[in-house]
């Protein structure tokens, strides 16, 4: 009879907690870095937590910051489950935001109930196309999607800069010498409704609904089943008659659509216009990268990504307070996220070993419980 602690240790619950352990390890490494930089890690982390979750307003800010992470992260889940890696969240986010902004500027006098959904659709479509291009290149020319999506990011940023300095610039800015590269503010009638007297907006709710919908898509529909099958084994899927190329392209495109939607929501829920500082991060807040971290932390499961996005949104919001408290730049959080990614993927080996161990044990138990039947012994003699 095994001790029950041993049973608990071998249970899948520990597997589910692996990302948490990995994150704790990353936090520990960053604590050492803080010490080296002459800051007290306890003070720093206390400020981080307080800044992220300490008040109603900071909680609302955390949710607002988590929203694009959740969209992007859920999209990342689709791509990873389909066996492709989407590093192009930044570009897809920008493409989606641009399309959505164009809709809002073009139909400036339209009815919000028509224009806003149309803008969201346009945003998703923009991301769908921007993710679909690397998807098609992967499916038909076997172009490494990691590299092509990174390149698509840079192309999107330059496209955004061109449009915001040129054709889409706010007419008011044209008359000024400063010429800040941003669009006009969209009609305030299009602003996504606030959910409370804070900055929290409807987009957060949409993000959670999308996460549930993507879960249903992946695990309860034929399309999702095929995407996952292709992700698990391309050869077997082909043998089973699944159009592998099509599903590879589709999983990247759908992944992009969610990032595009994130961009659209960012415009209509937070900024009400588009602007650029020349880089992608200026507008996206690196949601395209942090979304990957959230998805990994959520074990590439759409529902697991919900709390993960909340957690990492909190880190990003709390970083401001941390910066003020211990004079360490907020870039610390990017460093931390990098470590989280490295540590989470590093636990994979452990997970595999544990799965194998459990399989071996259950096999052994079954043999104990059902010794070969007398009939079989007779038959073999």
């Amino acid at each position: 009879m095994k001790h029950r602690w041993a049973t608990l240790w071998a249970s899948p619950i520990i597997d589910a907690l692996l990302p948490v352990f990995a994150t704790l390890a990353a936090l520990l490494v960053v604590a050492v870095m803080l010490l080296v930089l002459g800051a007290n890690p306890l003070v720093a982390y206390a400020a981080l937590i307080d800044g992220a979750f300490g008040s109603v307003n900071s909680l609302a800010d955390t949710l607002v910051r988590a929203t694009p992470l959740l969209f992007v992260g859920v999209g990342i889940c689709i791509a990873f489950r389909g066996g492709v890696i989407n590093i192009g969240g930044e570009g897809q986010f920008v493409a989606g935001a641009l399309c959505a902004t164009l809709v809002g500027l073009y139909f400036a006098d339209g009815h919000p109930l028509l224009v806003v959904p149309l803008a969201m659709l346009a945003g998703a479509l923009g991301g769908f196309v921007w993710g679909g291009i690397p998807g098609l290149l992967k499916a038909h020319f076997n172009v490494n999607e990691i590299l092509s999506t990174v390149m698509m990011n840079q192309i999107a940023v330059q496209g955004m800069n061109f449009l915001l300095i040129g054709p889409m610039i706010d007419p008011i800015q044209l008359e000024r010498a400063s010429r800040i590269p941003q669009t006009a503010r969209l009609s305030s009638a299009f602003d996504l409704p606030r959910l409370a007297p804070t900055r929290l907006h409807l987009g957060t709710l949409i993000a959670i609904i999308m996460a549930v919908l993507v879960y249903i898509l992946l695990w309860r529909t034929t399309l999702g089943y095929r995407i996952r099958a292709v992700g698990l084994n391309r050869e077997a899927s082909r043998y089973a008659g699944i159009n592998v190329a099509q599903h590879i392209a589709l999983s990247l495109a759908l992944s992009g659509a969610l990032a595009g939607l994130a961009g659209a929501i960012q415009v209509y829920g937070v900024n009400f216009r588009m602007f650029t500082d020349g880089s992608a991060t200026g507008f996206t807040g690196s949601a395209g990268f942090h979304g990957i971290v959230a998805a990994l932390f959520g074990q590439l499961h759409p529902l697991g990504t919900i709390p993960a996005a909340f957690f990492f949104g909190g880190l990003l919001v709390g970083a401001n307070k941390l910066q003020r408290a211990v004079q360490v730049p907020g870039a610390l959080i990017v460093t931390l996220n990098g470590l989280v990614v490295v540590f989470v993927v590093s636990t994979e080996l452990w997970r595999q070993q544990r799965t194998r161990m459990r399989a071996a044990e259950s096999l052994a138990e079954r043999d104990d419980a059902h010794p070969a039947s007398p009939a079989a012994e007779v038959a073999s003699t």
Partner: protein
């Protein structure tokens, strides 16, 4: 401005700008030939660039800066090797983790230790006697700084090591068929550790070539995707040093052209000019992938059976 001067200018800066691509691309070639895809090149470059810049800013010693950059890059490479060889983590994703780590840390240290964008006096052009006197060619090829010469020297050396030495044979064997290499007594893990650490050192050097030789500044995200392009160049170059050279030259020439388009004020929006190398990378990947087959064991961790 005469057209000859413009062409000369493009060639001279094109030759110069190929430097970081060459260092990073050739380092990455060794890693990939042994079966490890290191996507953290960009992060390694950023940390190397910062380390070199900071040391030079503080001590004024260029060689010390270079050495520290190589050490920092090597350390990052070693970490990548540990994660992908010993822990057998998914290489595509762990590389992105190292990229974010380098991006964040270099930014953090820059803000904390420098605060503002500053400049250093980096490696200066060294005219090679006689050769630099050749009209046109002398100016283009033989009046560059030492790190530029070093990058071009690396190409034949790397090709020789990869194709003519025992070490190169081991690298290729481990990347093509680790089981067979292992059964012949090659230590797969050791070879991969060596190549990935070496790749990291070269990435650090590539970063240093930007911050203390070509641009002589450091700022947030100095490399802006250059490390990823270097990885793409390895694919484009068919996993061969000479191929990487061809790719690096193609890219740096397009980049130089792009800079001159802006200098000359041609009626092409500068954003489209900046976009060109990235579009070209995608096109190049489509073309390249059809030509050559990647190392068979690329991204596949090795587990000894039994």
């Amino acid at each position: 401005m005469r057209i000859e001067d413009v062409i000369l200018g493009i060639l001279t800066s094109g030759i110069r700008l190929a430097t970081p691509y060459l260092y990073a691309g050739i380092g990455e070639t060794f890693g990939q030939r042994s079966g490890v895809l290191n996507l953290g090149v960009e992060g390694q470059m950023l940390l190397g660039a910062f380390a070199a810049f900071y040391v030079v800013r503080m001590t004024g010693n260029l060689w010390l800066g270079l050495l520290v950059a190589i050490l920092v890059g090597g350390l990052m490479g070693l970490a990548m090797a540990f994660v992908s060889v010993t822990l057998r983590a998914k290489q595509g994703i762990s590389g992105i983790g190292f990229f974010l780590f380098g991006l964040g840390l270099s930014d953090l240290l820059f803000q904390k230790m420098l605060g503002t964008v500053q400049t250093v006096s980096g490696f200066r052009p060294v005219a090679i006697p006689l050769l630099s006197q050749i009209p046109v060619l002398g100016q283009v090829f033989f009046n560059q700084n030492l790190l530029v010469y070093g990058a071009y020297l690396m190409v034949p050396v790397a090709a020789f090591v990869l194709n003519q030495t025992t070490f190169g044979l081991k690298v290729r064997a481990v990347g093509e068929n680790p089981e067979a290499a292992d059964s012949l007594g090659v230590n797969v893990a050791r070879v991969r550790y060596t190549t990935v650490t070496l790749g990291g050192m070269f990435s650090g050097l590539a970063g240093a070539s930007l911050s203390i030789a070509l641009l002589n500044v450091f700022q947030q995200n100095l490399t802006s995707g250059l490390g990823f392009i270097a990885v793409a160049l390895v694919y484009f170059g068919g996993w061969r040093p000479w191929g990487v050279l061809a790719g690096a030259l193609l890219f740096s020439m397009v980049n130089a052209l792009q800079l001159w388009v802006q200098v000359l004020g041609l009626p092409i929006p500068s954003e489209f000019a900046v976009m060109m190398p990235y579009v070209l990378t995608i096109v190049a990947l489509v073309v390249a992938v059809q030509r050559v087959r990647p190392p068979t064991a690329l991204t596949k961790p090795f587990v000894r059976e039994g």
